[in-house]
């Protein structure tokens, strides 16, 4: 027999940092009935395994570890009476905001949501996506899997380690494995710049004398049952291995930190339009997706470096979801003014803005497409430049932002395009 459909004002899909901050903001904005759906057995998401410090400086003005940062939000959610269902997997979201879940406790359940917040996060790009030659032995881990094994399960995945990719989790794990007594031979990065934060290169690699080999990649993996060695070669500008540069590293473990992919299967099932650049939903100033009443935040929207910014962003999505759930919205035909990512800027979030509906100011986050020194970040309203800010260093691994001011947008007659780009001085 099919169970009766449940109703909740705001349903948040995912109980990690984004979902928690969105749920809290929705409650604080007056939504009475906020439900978080989490497939793991506890709230907090990936923060639970990120035991290193450096979280919360923007939000709490102190330096917390991941579990401590998560606990602050779990405690706040508890105080506010945010409902949660753990061990519960969302298997479908319809464009009409019916959320289908499955759990061991309750079987299949259907929930009608006044508004939905997508906060599913991201997952690691796996080996299969890399087309790395060689055998398929044991001993190849994504960095996040290794992080969970070491920090939460108490298992050391290997003793002699090579890391491919310089994403933040790989850098963090280079240090973590070293502290636990393993030897990390090197971190190889195919691009000429690191994908991780500069601070992580300093305190995870430089502090321990671990070499970062830029423009290098793995060209062979040896070993039948277990990894026995990997071969690393330099690559040319076309990212092709250069013959004669191969160096063989005997090792028992290869860790991959080669990118994070927003997890948008559910967004697709709801018919949400996705960006080809971020692989996350296209959103407006309210972080509302192309489907009315469905909002997105955190790493499912675009991959972040800092959880503090995830929390800030998610609070916007939660607030707007609460507003949407409260009352019938006037249908809005226009999607606002496009925010165009031009020279040097890969994308912006949001990608369109309605000045009539935005707050006094709006943070637009973006990433650059290469390493830049001494460039200016410029904002144009049509052809008029309204911001021009010098940055000493910018890199693809570090998210940037500009703040748009509502009075500027309203003062510009007939505004049709907002452009964010990099310029020489």
């Amino acid at each position: 027999m099919r169970k009766a459909i449940e109703r909740h004002d705001v349903v948040v899909v995912g109980g990690g940092p984004a979902g928690l901050a969105a749920a809290i903001a929705a409650r604080e904005a007056g939504a009475d009935d906020v439900l978080v759906l989490e497939r793991d057995s506890q709230l907090g998401g990936i923060l639970n395994q990120c035991i290193h410090n450096g979280f919360g400086l923007h939000t709490f003005k102190e330096e917390l570890t991941g579990p401590e940062y998560a606990a602050r939000y779990v405690d706040r959610a508890d105080e506010l009476g945010v409902a949660r269902r753990l061990g519960t997997m969302v298997v479908d979201i319809s464009a009409g905001r019916v959320v289908t879940t499955v759990s061991a406790a309750e079987g299949v359940t259907r929930i009608a949501a006044g508004a939905v917040v997508l906060a599913m996060g991201c997952r690691e790009r796996p080996r299969g996506a890399l087309a790395t030659p060689g055998h398929r032995p044991a001993g190849i881990y994504s960095a996040g899997t290794a992080q969970r094994l070491v920090n939460m399960e108490g298992q050391l995945p290997g003793r002699e380690v090579v890391i491919l990719g310089s994403g933040d989790i790989g850098l963090i794990m280079a240090r973590r494995m070293t502290l636990e007594g393993a030897h990390v031979a090197c971190v190889a990065e195919i691009m000429p710049y690191s994908g991780g934060l500069k601070r992580n290169i300093v305190q995870c690699l430089d502090d321990y004398g671990i070499p970062l080999l830029l423009s290098h990649t793995v060209v062979d993996i040896e070993g039948r049952r277990r990894v026995e060695a990997v071969t690393i070669a330099e690559v040319d500008e076309g990212l092709r291995p250069i013959a004669g540069t191969e160096v063989r590293h005997p090792c028992d473990t290869l860790m991959l930190s080669v990118g994070l992919l927003p997890e948008n299967e559910l967004s697709r099932s709801a018919g949400v339009e996705l960006s080809a650049v971020t692989r996350g939903p296209v959103v407006d100033q309210d972080l509302q997706t192309s489907v009315p009443g469905i909002f997105a935040c955190g790493n499912v929207l675009h991959v972040h470096d800092l959880v503090d910014f995830v929390s800030q962003e998610a609070a916007v999505a939660g607030l707007q979801a609460a507003r949407y759930a409260r009352g019938p919205q006037t249908p809005d035909d226009s999607r606002g003014i496009p925010v165009v990512a031009a020279e040097g800027v890969r994308y912006t979030v949001p990608s369109h803005v309605d000045p009539d509906r935005m707050g006094d100011s709006l943070t637009v986050r973006f990433r650059v497409d290469n390493e830049y020194r001494d460039r200016h970040v410029s904002v144009y309203l049509d052809d008029r430049r309204v911001q021009h800010r010098r940055r000493r260093i910018m890199a693809p691994g570090e998210m940037e932002q500009v703040v748009l001011r509502r009075p500027d947008l309203l003062a510009h007659e007939g505004l049709s395009r907002i452009t964010v780009k990099l310029e020489e001085a």
Partner: protein, 121 residues
């Protein structure tokens, strides 16, 4: 007086500001490139007395949910004592219930700093 400049990346927070620290005769005379007071303090300290927070995790007994409990030094310790702290954690087990901030190892490795829990178990 010998004038020396050192280029550093501030690690006080994930912003990673590029700092230029100027020393004259081993004394810091200026820090530039920082965007907050923490950067100034980091630049001065990093060239004279570098320190780090050490984080790890240790097994926990008697917890209904957790196998491991994460820990950190309650404040930063000298950078050259990091491995002493890690050695001092070998064989350490926590006993549930554990609260955030509970002392797991007092005065770890004689640093004068406690190793405290960073999660509940």
């Amino acid at each position: 007086m010998a004038r020396e400049t050192r280029e550093l990346i501030c690690i006080s927070c994930p912003m990673g500001c590029p700092l230029t620290v100027t020393l004259e005769g081993g004394v810091v005379t200026s820090v530039t490139g920082n965007t907050c007071p923490r950067g100034d303090a980091y630049g001065r300290k990093e060239v004279t007395d570098p320190t780090r927070i050490v984080t790890s995790s240790v097994p926990v007994d008697g917890s209904p949910t957790e196998r491991m409990v994460s820990v950190k030094t309650a404040s930063d310790i000298p950078k050259d004592r990091i491995f002493d702290v890690m050695r001092a954690l070998v064989g350490v087990r926590a006993a549930a219930p554990v609260g955030i901030g509970d002392v797991i190892v007092p005065d770890v490795a004689g640093t004068g700093v406690d190793m405290v829990a960073t999660r509940r178990a």
